[in-house]
Subunit: 296 residues, 2 copies
Amino acid sequence: MTPEQFDTWARQCLVDVEQALSAWVPSEAPAGLGEAMRYGVLDGGKRLRPLLVLAACEALGGQREAALRAAVAVELIHAYSLIHDDMPCMDNDVLRRGKPTVHVQFGEAQAMLAGDAMQALAFEVLTPDEALVPLALQARLVGLLARAAGQAGMAGGQAIDLAATGRPLLEEQLQDMHRRKTGALLQASVLMGAACGTPDARAWQALSDYGAAIGLAFQVVDDILDVTQASETLGKTAGKDLDANKPTYVSVLGLEHARLRADALHAQAQAALRSSGLADTVALAMLADKVVDRDS
Amino acid sequence: MTPEQFDTWARQCLVDVEQALSAWVPSEAPAGLGEAMRYGVLDGGKRLRPLLVLAACEALGGQREAALRAAVAVELIHAYSLIHDDMPCMDNDVLRRGKPTVHVQFGEAQAMLAGDAMQALAFEVLTPDEALVPLALQARLVGLLARAAGQAGMAGGQAIDLAATGRPLLEEQLQDMHRRKTGALLQASVLMGAACGTPDARAWQALSDYGAAIGLAFQVVDDILDVTQASETLGKTAGKDLDANKPTYVSVLGLEHARLRADALHAQAQAALRSSGLADTVALAMLADKVVDRDS
């Protein structure tokens, strides 16, 4: 793949992911639940995690059906976490992806249930008939996603975030929080894509390092955008971390050092790709660029 | 197994399940999250679902390690659903298993996160190293559990429940709600246990029918107990469905007809076991008795 081909490839991936999400997030779920689930995940978001899954699979020449399911599953986990995170008992946010948040639109109870059902659906999507995805690969993908979503990963990071509001954190504590809260799922996206192929130990380690670096870079950039961009650009409430007195990379390192940190992590990610021994990592390299060089 | 041996068997199962829960629900999860998770699932509950998993596995001579993991996973899903269901935006209940509910004890945000992390943990427990449970069986267990927990099962039933408050339901609608809300997970417990062995099509169908019958019987009896028992006996707030103006089997059928319905479902469950072709279904038969003949 050349850098010029990347855009075409990414556009086609986004079409495939959107179609799969629309097909697999059921409109017929009872009592408005399906409507809330679809509202929470369709037509929005950068789909960075699905693109990482598909790019890693592509780099390994892996199984596309399995990777598409992994891409949808990880996006469902991400989208459910945003729904729960936006609720009044958490961040109490009313704007997401430029639309009213799910609990504003459908009520708190339905928002909580929609999130719960989306987490279950993620694991359902990963366990189709074995004619579609070999059972052993299904189990590996579930294991990677469950560990990234749970107490050692995303949910644990959110608990630290919750406890940290209004308290200063050391840089290592901030990093630990973000490695769990955001980094674990981004890294798992890369590894789930890799698991759809047959990576050797060297490629697996390199992709793990790449995923860890961009996972953290993503959050550093998020913290920078939170103070430098307007709400309209972000599609969500800007400056909210500052308002909530939450520790961020900007509050701990300052804006300039946060930018340097993002650049250093970007360089780490690219170095990991070069060490992978894989022939074509253009898509992964371009995605690393996009993580750091974005305005929303 | 004789009926006399059942009690000894069940006691040992409960010890095993409690030890496994205590070992696998991590006290070291960050920022108090582990504490909330353990509070929500340890030292309480009848553990009916784990016993169903283990009894079905026993009837098939299946793999015990896999069944113990399935037992813990299904209890984690059940416990997380109670935590979320008790929250102010849902049932707003303050008492569960004789203790303050998780959100009363730890706050709403931590309760929501603990539930979210417990759902992820369920799928983590089901996907250990393949030396412990074959990967193909892991994938089958995840598939059964995810479908029972999601929009077609438990979460969907809760959405119907939410929408039904204060509105009369036809008996078929009530049954549909409960087959999803409570029945799906109880039936999945039986089928997960069965999947740990190698059931033929006849045994699988019989156990599926058995699971469906006791799943619905459980809810009918729950509705009866809600109006006939005191809160102290139940360990949760009695009469709350009545107070919340929720449709129940008692409000739709009347108390006497609800009792007859429970007896009929119990008979269906026992008939299914007799048709299974399995040599030893004593434990499953005794559990069906306990579902119907209980006071809390």
